[in-house]
Assembly symmetry: C2
Homo-oligomer: 284 residues x 2
């Protein structure tokens, strides 16, 4: 049981981690697999006070180094789901469960449009984590729509248990897929199905009849992370102490809304962590 | 007429200045005379992400250097009063007036207790700026209560126009006062007067009958800066965009409330500046 678990691997997450560490709280950071982010691509950042003219990659490196120097434990796993257990939370990383008394969501901003039918069929033939739900689809057919290379691992995994796996990348890199997986380079038009569940993935030039469709996104839609989390304009609603509507859950950084800025994220991580400390000191 | 004027010389002020500059807004920073602050005294700061184990003085130096590299104009003057002129603001630095379309208050947190009678008689025999109001008290008697050396300059100035000047320092440094100024090292007990105005300063061992009492504080009480500014628990009330209740006035850093943290201040300066830019783009 950790005092706090931080979900995210950007500036807000690292900033929050420092403050929890300084306040002697036990914590884990679930940074996920690092993919190329907007921040990494920035050639020069001039508005993070104290570090002028630094590149995004350098800055993120400095942030990570700082957290590591403070002996913050950073995991590359991703958290797919958080369950509210009353006085603590259970977090599902796909392969394992973790427990924490408080949560800081610093999961970034998802820049995407839902596919037609995605929200309608979520949990009913549509999912975000093949590792989590794959076992339910043994000897069935699956399609994976993926925004990044992570989807390839998911597809390779599914190919061991599913009868047929289709892979539809929305990115332009070389893919490393196992034999037998059918890659389809077409545009996704929508997800359709019957009254019970999704069963059809419509692509620009073809149509797949499958038992399940997994969508691997760079950033998980935040409202999927935990039930009952209130949003505002698509971002997590927080007050000035970075508290969400769920006691014990705090949020910071891009997932709390605009402006999508590094200094804002770092500042909010700072505040979210101190609010979590206050919460922990009150509850325990 | 400036696009924005920033009142303050700490992390929030410098962070805001970078962002206004990057967005091509004309601006001035009124940092005031740098006095020793809590930040400067910090031997080691571990929670400003990216710059581990830095001292407060080094960090503030890095901040200032960054702002200067970006060609931000920093003035050592202090702003005593802001007047709302409808579609712009007039700022009084004691000796001069400045004009700006928007204001960012980053004036820090005032750690003080009001003296008995201070609020009651403010503007009626009690003031915060001798340079501003001194001329009204030609050939009269004045007392200056001061938290820092700045008060000595004010006292020296008043000694040129007033018939008698008393100086009551609440700090423990050597004072450089002109001849004729009477220094009194006693504790301030309170300010008293009649129905019209203050006329008496009670000290621990004596009592002064004077025409005016000036109080020079390290940080000006924020609600004195501009009329009608809404507070909450003694701090400036802001929303998540760092807007105050007065259109065109934004606030950031310690003056917006706890936690009093550097990263929070820097993040809020970032957001306040971008909100001011948005405001300017809408109004003009």
């Amino acid at each position: 049981m950790y005092d706090a678990i931080i979900v995210g691997g950007g500036p807000a997450a690292y900033s929050a981690s420092l403050n929890l560490k300084i306040r002697n709280k036990s914590l884990l950071v679930f940074a996920g697999n690092e993919k190329t982010t907007g921040l990494m691509k920035a050639p020069q950042i001039d508005n993070y006070l104290g570090m002028p003219g630094i590149s995004g990659t350098e800055l993120l490196e400095a942030y990570k180094r700082h957290a590591e120097e403070m002996e913050v434990e950073i995991r590359k796993e991703k958290i797919y789901n958080i369950l509210n257990m009353g006085d603590y939370f259970a977090l599902n990383s796909g392969s394992e469960f973790y427990e924490a008394r408080s949560i800081i969501i610093a999961a970034g901003h998802a820049k995407f449009k839902y596919f037609e039918g995605e929200r309608e069929y979520l949990g009913r033939g549509v999912g975000y984590c093949a590792t989590c739900d794959g076992p339910l689809y043994r000897n069935k057919s699956a399609a994976i729509i993926s925004e990044n290379e992570e989807g390839e691992e998911e597809a390779n995994y599914l190919s061991e248990i599913c009868s047929q796996v289709y892979y539809i990348p929305t990115y332009n890199h070389k893919t490393k897929l196992r034999e037998g997986i059918k890659m389809i380079e077409e545009k996704v038009l929508g997800i359709y199905g019957n009254e019970v569940k999704a069963d059809t993935l419509k692509l620009s030039d073809s149509q797949l009849n499958v038992d399940v469709i997994f969508i691997i996104r760079n950033v998980l839609p935040v409202n999927q992370l935990i039930e009952g989390l209130e949003l505002e304009d698509g971002s997590i609603r927080v007050d000035r102490s970075m508290a969400t509507n769920i006691p014990g859950i705090f949020a910071c950084g891009d997932c709390t809304g605009k402006p999508y800025q590094i200094a804002k994220a770092v500042g909010e991580g700072n505040v979210a962590a101190l609010s979590a400390v206050k919460y922990l000191d009150t509850v325990i």
